[in-house]
Amino acid sequence: MLELAINIANFTFLVGVAAGGVMVVLPYYLHDYKAYGKVTILGEFLAIASVIMCITFILVDLGQPMRVLNVLLYPTPNSVLFWDTVVLNGYLFLNLIIGWNVLEAERNGVHYQSWLKPLIYLSIPWAISIHTVTAYLYCGLPGRGFWLTAILAPRFLSSAFASGPALLILLCLIIRRVTNFDPGWKQIQSLAVTVAYAICINVFFLLCEVFVVFYSQIPEHMDHLTYLFVGLHGHGAYVPWMWTSMALMALGIILLVNPATRKNELTLIAGCIAVFFGCWIDKGMGMISGGFVPNPMHEVNEYIPTLLEGLITIGVYALGFLVLTILFKIAVSVKEEVRA
């Protein structure tokens, strides 16, 4: 019996948050959208903390973590997990190098080094790649009908571009409150528009999936969604969660698409929290647990995380947020110093 859920679910979700950082990097460097100059570093540092959490979630999930270097010792190009290791570590180092050097240049009052430019351009498709490869972990497996869909990578990306920037907005609002550095209301509003588009696309992709699955009525594809949303053979632990997720994403769309509520700080916060947790349930627990139940033999073995698993999860998140706090503290201190 296979239990591969809570760690992998959080891993998958956080790869999205990491990839979401590209939503500030891309407009700034590719479209010369100057306003994002103030927040790109926050996007990059959020990506670093998220990738560290991703790698830690994989590490704690392994049965034999001390053997993890076997992945490098016996490189296996036919394994998607091998490529995921490559792209995740690559993205970590790209963001470390770019973020650190650009911040240092800003502190010294000079333009960043010219050799960084190609790395910056590389980091944009690289961000797309980390989530694409992560989707390929699942969507290339025969016998797991829920994931066997070409729209899995686009779905992962759309929810990434919703949940990543939504978290970044919340973090920017906190920084505005507690430090002398203001990431800027205009920047936050631009990000909110990105979140609004992305969450709409995410729900659209989900509905595409729902149509294909329920119109074709192929049991091996249909039964996973049935299990998640109404329960199957008397098992339905995820039913309330999935409907909560749908309600949260709907609420997020209402609050963020509507200009009046998007421009109001309080409803903006509510909208971002709704999108973030809506995506977490949908893509984290729903996407991973739903893929394993029912199993290929069409048996329902429901997965409920244990207390120990819950504690480990909290531990990994704590580590990630510690890294995030330190990095943001550095960034904010430099920004305050430069302005002073």
Binding site: L4, Q64, R67, V71, T76, S79, V80, G143
Partner: protein, 260 residues
């Protein structure tokens, strides 16, 4: 602390000498160099291009027909027994018709014929194994004789082979398996916590010229042989009987055939 160039060179020299000593001592202690052990296929080894199994499901009427086979397999391979379902380790087991052939089973009325009959399932030793594709360390691979082999000592326990296997043929040691083994067979390795395991068509017995344990215990209910040899018993059975395989629509080409 002050360090002179002379001192650094002295330390380097000493370190080099220290590194060089063990081989010298080893050579002295060993006396004459011992001949290296020879590793290669035994003279009695059974060989094939693609090993395959044919299961005559008509001869398995109840659990009593299945039990001795599972017992033979699990006892010689040190497969632990756990009552808790989530810890279960399975190499060879039986399941109901609809589970064994889900998706490709001929339908609800056909299953009435098979009501209550056990269907023996194991690793299909697929010709095109998705588990081998998924493994990031090549801890599972396909041998020249078609057996999908498993290295318990290289496995990192990521369980992506289990996600890739459409037959549920792989088990993960969520806990140390050793306390769950009734009597340890010293001739086969026990596993440790955190690795994946599965049936290997008794590769270790084939190497000694013996048939797989379940085939030996089945008394003719199972046949085993080379699929690429037109004259083999398995080919004869497949030719003369109507056989089905599990989930052939997935293209993994299972090497376990069922006469129904």
């Amino acid at each position: 602390m002050e360090t002179s160039r002379r001192r650094v060179l002295q330390l380097l020299g000493l370190s080099a000498a220290a590194l060089a000593t063990p081989p010298v001592f080893n050579a002295l202690a060993a006396g004459a160099p011992a001949a290296k052990p020879k590793i290669g296929p035994g003279t009695e080894a059974l060989t094939a291009r693609q090993w395959a199994m044919v299961i005559d499901t008509r001869k398995f009427k109840s659990e009593a027909d299945v039990k001795p086979l599972v017992e033979a397999c699990h006892s010689i391979h040190n497969v632990p027994h756990w009552d808790e379902k989530r810890w279960e380790i399975k190499w060879l087991w039986s399941t109901k018709y609809e589970s064994a052939f889900s998706g490709t089973a001929s339908g609800r009325f056909a299953s009435e014929v098979f009501e209550g009959r056990p269907f023996l399932v194991l690793c299909n030793q697929c010709e095109n194994p998705p588990c081998v594709r998924a493994c990031p360390t090549r801890a599972t691979w396909k041998r020249a004789d078609g057996i999908v082999m498993m290295d318990f000592h290289r496995c990192i326990g990521c369980r992506f082979c289990m996600a890739a296997c459409p037959f549920g043929a792989r088990s993960f040691n969520y806990r140390d398996p050793r306390p769950g083994i009734k009597q340890t067979n010293k001739l086969f390795p026990t596993r440790m916590k955190g690795v994946v395991e599965k049936c290997s068509f008794c590769a270790e017995r084939l190497a000694e010229g013996k048939m797989p344990a379940c085939v030996e215990a089945a008394g003719g209910k199972l046949a085993f042989g080379d699929l690429s040899d037109a004259g083999s018993e398995v080919r004869k059975l497949i030719r003369e009987n109507y056989t089905i395989r599990r989930k052939i629509n997935l293209g993994t080409e299972p090497a376990v055939y069922y006469i129904v």
